[in-house]
């Protein structure tokens, strides 16, 4: 068991190292100019050198992302429970949600800027707009997957609709919810960085844009690397929460985890 867990950690780590080694090798063998693709070693060097520049901007992005993500969790879950527990609301809202989700979110950023000006608010909202959909869809699917006969058991005991949602619907939807969190957190990062690129004076997105404008390509890649690291870290946190809080689901072997992306 321990060995299996160790292996599941070592194998991807080795793959990642190989990837960076290959990248380094390609850059050196083909003498790719630094302003096209800097080597990983140059990128890490830039990360260290410009840490004072990257860290405050990364913090800004992280905070923006987390606020947007938290709003998503609350809103997405509430909407998902509503849609999943009522066939009527499902009929009313599903087409609207699908339509909303098919709008390219980048196109929404200028509108948000128009309403809220340049800065943190549009970035938070973009992170929210990008990440709530998978949460809503998955929670709705989870609540709707509640065993019909369990509902009958509860209702015959005199449970109200609210009781059924609290006792059966929400716990049933938790595995779906956590699966969707892993997608939502990465989408939230995408959202905040996009918004910072278009309309902000700080954050990683802004830093990358201004660095590339002044041809500091290693800095661009250093920022990319770090934002990637942040994304992976947050993903790991949500994955950890998932295994911790829905361990019962791991026993249910045939229970597939659905995660629908947005």
């Amino acid at each position: 068991m321990i060995q299996a867990r160790l292996r599941s950690f070592i194998e991807p780590a080795v793959t990642a190292l190989l990837f960076f080694a290959l990248w380094e090798l390609m850059c050196r063998v083909f003498q790719i100019p630094e302003f096209v693709l800097p080597t990983p070693s140059r990128t890490v060097a830039a990360l260290v050198k410009d840490w004072n520049l990257i860290w405050p901007n990364a913090q800004q992005t992280l905070i923006t992302t987390m606020i947007g993500f938290c709003i998503s969790v609350v809103f997405g879950m509430a909407l998902g429970i509503l849609v999943g527990s009522s066939a009527f609301l499902n009929r009313c809202l599903s087409p609207l949600l699908v339509a909303f989700n098919s709008v390219p979110k980048v196109a929404v950023v200028p509108v948000l800027v128009l309403w809220f000006g340049i800065g943190t608010v549009p970035a938070v909202l973009t992170a929210f707009v990008l990440s709530f959909f998978p949460i809503t869809v998955n929670v709705a699917a989870g609540v709707a997957a509640t065993d019909r006969e369990l509902i009958d058991v509860l209702r015959s005991l005199g449970a109200s609709q609210w009781d059924v949602i609290v006792k059966a619907g929400i716990p049933r939807s938790l595995p779906y919810f956590f699966a969707s969190l892993k997608i939502a957190i990465t989408l939230a990062f995408v959202g905040s960085v996009i918004a910072e690129t278009v309309a902000s004076n700080n954050g990683i997105g802004y830093l990358m844009l201004s660095a590339s404008a002044s041809f500091k390509i290693p800095l661009v890649f250093a920022s990319l690397l770090f934002i990637g690291f942040l994304g992976v870290s947050m993903y790991a946190v949500t994955a950890f929460l998932e295994t911790r809080l829905t361990s019962w689901n791991a026993h249910t072997a045939d229970q597939a985890n659905f995660a629908i992306g947005g």
Partner: protein, 293 residues
């Protein structure tokens, strides 16, 4: 299937194995617990509507163990939904414990073919569920916790699950899950237990074991049971009265009082009289199926 199965002794509707120790059955008792009178139920709307039950009448006495058998799709499960108040009849009246049923009845416990346990709860927590939902237990959920827990533990122990209290449903076999589901349906001591093919997904040995578990619980607590099944051996072995439904739209076409002494043992199932009863019921169902096909 046809009427060929009519055995030489099948004509005898009432077959007594030990007539001197008659079990009280459905007739001639005090006011019945369940009284269904001329009930019809239509599913769906307009053009796609299905008449599930028509002119359905049935009485089940307090403390009686009634079994409902019939060809598949005859509305057996629909009937349970009517009794539990999960559905309302299109016509006719359903009365349970002297009250016309127009909302979910509070005095029932239900169990199904699918154990329908909560996979995120341990066995004990699953069995405790009714205390969190049913009034008046719910109001006293906190103050009576110890008492409730004691009752749940005792019940689980009585079906042989004393060691499985803190295990999760996915860690249990199908038979054990079904035992937990039975406990959950009985822990709040309902007057009426409604069970819908609870043993049909189990292997033969487990099923026969659980027949005796249910028989034991019934003997001990004297609740009223309505068992829906298509296993005739199960029906005859467990019930005081077996009611045969017609093909859809379902109604009772034959009722048979089973006068086998209780407690019944696996031995009883191999008695000629037992086989005759099963055979006779089987021919009734064969005839009912013949009506449509």
């Amino acid at each position: 299937m046809n009427t060929r199965t009519d055995g030489p002794r099948a004509g005898a509707n009432v077959t007594a194995i030990r007539p001197q120790q008659l079990q009280s059955a459905s007739q001639g008792q005090a006011a019945p617990l369940i009284e269904i009178d001329g009930v019809s139920l239509t599913y769906g709307e307009d053009h796609h509507s299905v008449l599930a039950l028509h002119d359905f009448s049935l009485k089940v006495a307090r403390g009686e163990f009634a079994a409902i058998v019939g060809p598949s799709g005859c509305g057996k499960s629909t009937f349970l939904k009517l009794v539990s108040g999960l559905r309302r009849p299109t016509a006719g009246t359903v009365t349970v414990a002297n009250q016309t049923v127009d909302k979910p009845v509070k005095i029932v416990g239900m169990a199904f073919q699918n154990a329908a346990l909560m996979p995120w709860r341990t066995c004990l927590e699953n069995v405790m569920l009714p205390f969190e939902v049913v009034q008046p237990h719910r109001k006293r959920k906190r103050t009576d916790y110890a008492l409730h827990r004691e009752r749940a533990v005792a019940l689980l122990a009585s079906v042989g699950l004393a060691d499985a209290l803190s295990r999760y449903p996915a860690q249990l076999s199908g038979g054990m899950q079904q035992r937990v589901a039975l406990c959950r349906s009985l822990v709040h001591e309902p007057e009426l237990l409604l069970v819908d093919e609870p043993f049909s997904a189990l292997d033969a040995f487990t099923r026969e074991e659980l027949w005796d578990v249910l028989q034991g619980l019934h003997a001990q607590r004297r609740f009223t049971v309505v068992l829906v099944t298509h296993d005739l051996t199960e029906a005859v072995y467990l019930a005081d009265a077996v009611h045969v439904l017609s093909a859809r739209p379902g109604r009772v076409i034959h009722s048979e009082i089973i006068r086998i002494h209780r407690p019944r043992t696996p031995r009883d199932r191999f008695m000629p009289a037992f086989a005759d009863m099963v055979l006779s019921l089987r021919s009734k169902i064969g005839a009912a199926r013949g009506q449509v096909s």
